[in-house]
Symmetry: C2
């Protein structure tokens, strides 16, 4: 029935199926209580309505001790999908905690692309333990996928593809589909291939259903068709899905032969992970950082970035140290100087974040980079003048010194213009040199604004006030 | 053919279709040249292979003058999909630049959900201009969608749904689909409904194809089935799609009747926008910020956040001002104090970013918040002690003062512990009060670390050194 649902007729009453929402704190408490008292039956009953993704989230949220006890008690109910939803940081521990037979059953349930995702970060011993329990055909598929580079389309794709020769008509395709026993669990398109098995177009199942039997498949192919080389980085795959609204896309090897298919749900997952990396890198946190990491892991991730920050902070202090005389003479400078640096750091971070994000979404390209640099300079100038006036007046009334007002106003303009330039320039240059701009830009930019801020303010002050 | 593609037989040769990759700088230059010389034929030829999403990107990247000339020259080739791919910031200008008839044709090509997305941000006059050119049924659909709250599932869904009563078998469903003229362009599931039109399950088209005619639809429904209330915020819809790997999900009104369906490509788009908002908000840039904004627009977005930052920077300066005496006596304090504040700000931002991201992905919940707070405190303590030792030794050698070394070491420990606490505490508290933690946390946290850093360092110094 495709008519507007509002118009249809009511016949008989039956309640709608419950939708599975995320678990509440109460649920977790009840589950942990059942673990505490060792009530396996109750545990299974409480876990039964939860989606594997939610169970994985819960396992990440409870502590390691409860997690291990829960897994032991849950035992053979443990589902393979929970494993593939788990954060890498605790996946290894969970695999070790599972009874080997439970693990084998859990892994055998998974699609080969999920198994690849599951084992690619495990150590060799765990990898072969899992590979051993797979059926031969699955093991070969997984091993073949593992030969593709990490984070490539080859790791992301599923190898089972529904395809048809391009000369088929709708009737032949439908008859073929209805006669085939081993169609994949999920597929949305038939990939049309030429005789060399090179993909030439996608036909959506819906279009197929809606068309007369004698119509040629080639007349039903979708406008947007995107073929993905097997070595393409997964981040670019996700970009293509998002940009072109793809639902599934064929993957080809170097001779352009079809070797697999990627579906949008996997691409969405990659997009989400890429965002996570960007946001964590911008903040100077290791991109592998997880909430489920323990204290030691967290310290190890954050300490290097703090060490870099310490170096740059010391650099800024060395600038200040050049002006000890004038600070000793006019202590007000020590009071005001952090304002200039802080405003510069903030303005720089603003420009930087927009630039990093625009580079990631490919909105900032060589076609518009000079115009955007011009814009950032102008914005820095305008904001600089605004805050120069405010700070000039503030300094005048606070310390009763017009000269100090002029000094801080000038330093403010200089630093905000530099902040705009550094905010756009640093990520663009890093990207040109093949460095992820999200990774290192923040430190560079705030170093620049600190050094320039202190130097401009204290330098001007010592020129004028000493 | 579902067999492994590697095994299939080669029959005849034909080249694969070109895939449409993003345009290069050269393409843009060639297009702009054709606009310069007014060569319409060449322009159309150059634009023809480009995907509407890429054309929209290009229109965003070139300047306003070139954009208008290009649109005038391209004229009636202008595709509706380009409009729906355009950033809101320039969409209005483009609509104004289009010839009314071209606009009418462009809009009529679009699905009703794309029209909604297109017009929801236009002013009333432009809205009704577009509504007027739609066919009656489309206009009613669009107007009805506009009655749902902005950023709700109701705005996101498409109203055309393929559904079937739950008592049907595969044969009935297939016969029905093949007999129906107006199936939607894209659909991947049949929604099974009870007689009150309440959705009870999804059957994937692939499953339907693979099953015998006499099998009941209800035995084919997917494990994961998620019903979305029409008023649910689109951010939560995107979360559900990503969490549960949904491909499409039925949308219901308050009486639980089916009113539409949301597909994963729209959810992916929302996920992408939500990430953009998070990252821009964290940096104190208006979340509506676009690379295509002009200078004035950009100043207006960034100035308020810089003003907030100025207030907090002045607050920190007021703390410093309390210690003018000790700074005047020991100028080394002015040199070292930014280091303490900077390290605190960085450590706070690290903890904060992980917390904001974890709240967004619902990994940080009431089940684990206390454990994570404990972790952040410990991490702050460990990092604090590490850098306290480094800075203590550095200050000792730099200024030859063991007392100064002890003072900065102590201040470092205090500030990094506070940074950890503020970094996790501020976003959690904001979230409890219903404020987007990405929006305001950064300023709060760095204010805390600046104030505490200066106060601890200078306060200890004046207690010990004066």
């Amino acid at each position: 029935m495709t008519q507007d649902p509002q118009e249809a007729v009511v016949e008989e009453v039956e309640p709608p199926e419950e939708d599975h929402l995320a678990f509440s704190r109460k649920d977790v408490a009840a589950i942990l209580y059942s673990v505490d008292v060792g009530d396996r039956e109750k545990l299974v009953e409480l876990m039964e309505p939860l989606h594997p993704a939610d169970i994985a989230d819960m396992l990440e949220q409870i502590n390691a001790f409860d997690r291990m006890r829960l897994i032991k008690l849950y035992d053979k109910e443990f589902d393979g999908e929970i494993l593939s939803e788990l954060d890498e940081s605790i996946r290894e521990d969970v695999i070790l905690a599972l009874h080997p037979e439970v693990l084998a059953d859990a892994v055998r349930e998974l699609d080969s692309d999920d198994v690849v995702d599951l084992i690619e970060d495990l150590d060799a011993a765990q990898q072969s333990a899992i590979l051993e329990v797979l059926e031969d055909s699955d093991r070969v598929a997984v091993e073949q996928s593992l030969t593709y580079p990490e984070y490539s389309a080859g790791r992301l794709m599923q190898r089972e593809v529904v395809m048809a020769p391009e000369h088929w008509n709708v009737g032949e395709a439908i008859d073929y589909l209805r006669a085939t026993d081993d169609l994949p669990e999920q597929f949305y398109h038939i990939v049309m291939v030429d005789p060399k098995l090179r993909p030439v177009g996608n036909v959506a199942l819906g279009r197929l259903m809606a068309s007369r039997r004698e119509i040629l498949l080639r007349s039903l192919i979708e406008d947007t068709f995107h073929v993905i080389p097997v070595t393409r980085p997964e981040a670019e795959v996700a970009y293509a899905f998002n940009q072109y609204h793809l639902i599934s896309a064929p993957v080809v090897d170097e001779s352009e032969r079809l070797v697999g298919v990627i579906t949008i749900d996997d691409a969405m997952n990659v997009l989400d992970e890429e965002h996570e990396e960007d946001i964590l890198r911008l903040a100077g946190v290791g991109e592998e950082s997880r909430l489920s990491d323990n204290t030691l892991e967290t310290v190890k991730q954050r300490l290097p970035w703090l060490a870099v920050n310490l170096l740059t902070a010391v650099l800024a202090s060395l600038v200040i140290a050049q002006f000890e005389d004038v600070i000793g003479a006019v202590v007000a400078l020590a009071v005001l100087m952090p304002i200039v640096a802080s405003m510069g750091g903030n303005a720089g971070t603003q420009a930087l974040t927009v630039a990093v994000r625009s580079l990631a979404t490919r909105d900032l390209t060589s076609s518009n980079v000079w115009r955007i640099i011009g814009r950032e300079l102008t914005v820095g100038l305008v904001n600089g003048v605004c805050f120069a006036v405010v700070m000039g007046v503030l300094a005048l009334f606070w310390f009763g010194s017009p000269v100090l007002g002029v000094v801080i106003a000038s330093a403010m303009v200089i630093n905000l213009v530099v902040a705009g330039l550094a905010g756009i320039g640093v990520p663009v240059v890093l990207e040109r040199f093949g460095v992820d701009p999200a990774l290192a830009s923040g430190t560079f930019v705030t170093t620049v604004t600190d050094v320039v801020g202190f130097f401009a303010f204290l330098g001007l002050a010592s020129a004028v006030l000493l």
